[in-house]
């Protein structure tokens, strides 16, 4: 069992990192989700995987031997919920970014970091990407 989990962990981490290295921002977001799934597996494996018996037993009944530890299961549930929220956010963000910037190529996304046109001096930011001055309604 533990070897199957280890193999799954390896596959999800490797494929997730591979996707993250892509220039396509949508693939990066997906890759992060896959890496997150792999890490959740690791968290789950940190409590034993030995048994499928329930960890919580009714009062009076004997303690189950080789039952898996319920704490990592609770932890992994928390991590899944948080990861879910982050995946939601990253998808919404990537969608908006691709729509507004008109490209999904990470190398062309230079709105926050303009490309220097000069070897020595840093580029001046495009005024369209700066806060509006003077602030609305003021001279």
């Amino acid at each position: 069992m533990i070897w199957a989990v280890a193999a799954a962990l390896w596959v999800s981490l490797a494929s997730g990192v591979y996707l993250c290295l892509s220039r396509d921002v949508f693939r990066v977001a997906l890759g992060l989700a896959v890496v997150g799934a792999g890490v959740n597996l690791a968290l789950l494996a940190s409590g034993r995987l030995g048994s499928v018996q329930p960890a919580v037993v009714p009062k009076g009944q004997p303690f189950l031997e080789l039952a898996s530890n319920p704490l990592p299961q609770a932890l992994v549930l928390t991590a899944i919920v948080i990861g879910f929220a982050l995946v939601c956010f990253s998808l919404a963000l990537v969608l908006g970014l691709i729509r507004d910037a008109g490209t999904d190529d990470a190398l062309e996304l230079r709105a926050a970091e303009p490309v220097p046109g000069n070897d020595i001096k840093p580029p001046a930011t495009d005024p369209a990407h700066e806060p509006e001055w003077p602030p609305e309604g003021r001279a």
């Binding site: 919920v81 929220a85 939601c88 956010f89 998808l91 919404a92 969608l95 908006g96 729509r99």
Partner: protein, 149 residues
């Protein structure tokens, strides 16, 4: 103009109610069995998404408690925070939970601060995730109607 599927729009009406009732059942079942606020909240979100696909995101948003996604989230968060206070008043640690059993004529009603916490989680999950989902659906709607607004 309206490209929505008629069958889905008709079926959505009873299904919405059924899914919400099922989510409430899951919420209350969480007292002693698998279930609870988070999973119930997720089911409620699926009902909202169904309505959003069938009748549009504006209609789905209006169907949420108090007519917006933020309100359930806020109320849920406050409920969950308040549920820890009774333990505090008794001089114990925050979030020490209390349970009472109320006996009516033939029915026993089990009440606890954990239930309050769970209802809070239910509302918070419903509000927050429905907000996300509807925002994503709205992007899709805009594109179908010809580019960003």
């Amino acid at each position: 103009m309206n490209s929505r599927i008629v069958i889905l729009a008709v079926v959505a009406r009873p299904l919405y109610l059924v899914i919400l009732l099922a989510s409430l059942w899951v919420l209350l079942r969480g007292h002693n069995e698998p279930g609870g606020g988070f999973i119930g909240g997720l089911m409620a979100v699926s009902a909202t998404i169904l309505w959003g696909v069938a009748h549009g995101t504006t209609a789905a948003r209006a169907r949420l408690p108090l007519g917006d996604a933020v309100w359930p989230a806020v109320i849920g968060l406050l409920l969950a925070a308040i549920s820890g206070v009774p333990g505090l008043l008794d001089g114990e640690a925050y979030l020490t939970h209390r349970a009472w059993t109320l006996a009516f004529v033939s029915v026993e009603l089990k009440l606890s601060t954990v239930l309050l916490f769970d209802i809070g989680v239910y509302l918070a999950v419903w509000g927050a995730l429905a907000g996300y989902a509807l925002a994503l659906l709205a992007v899709d709607e805009q594109e179908q109607e010809g580019g960003p607004a």
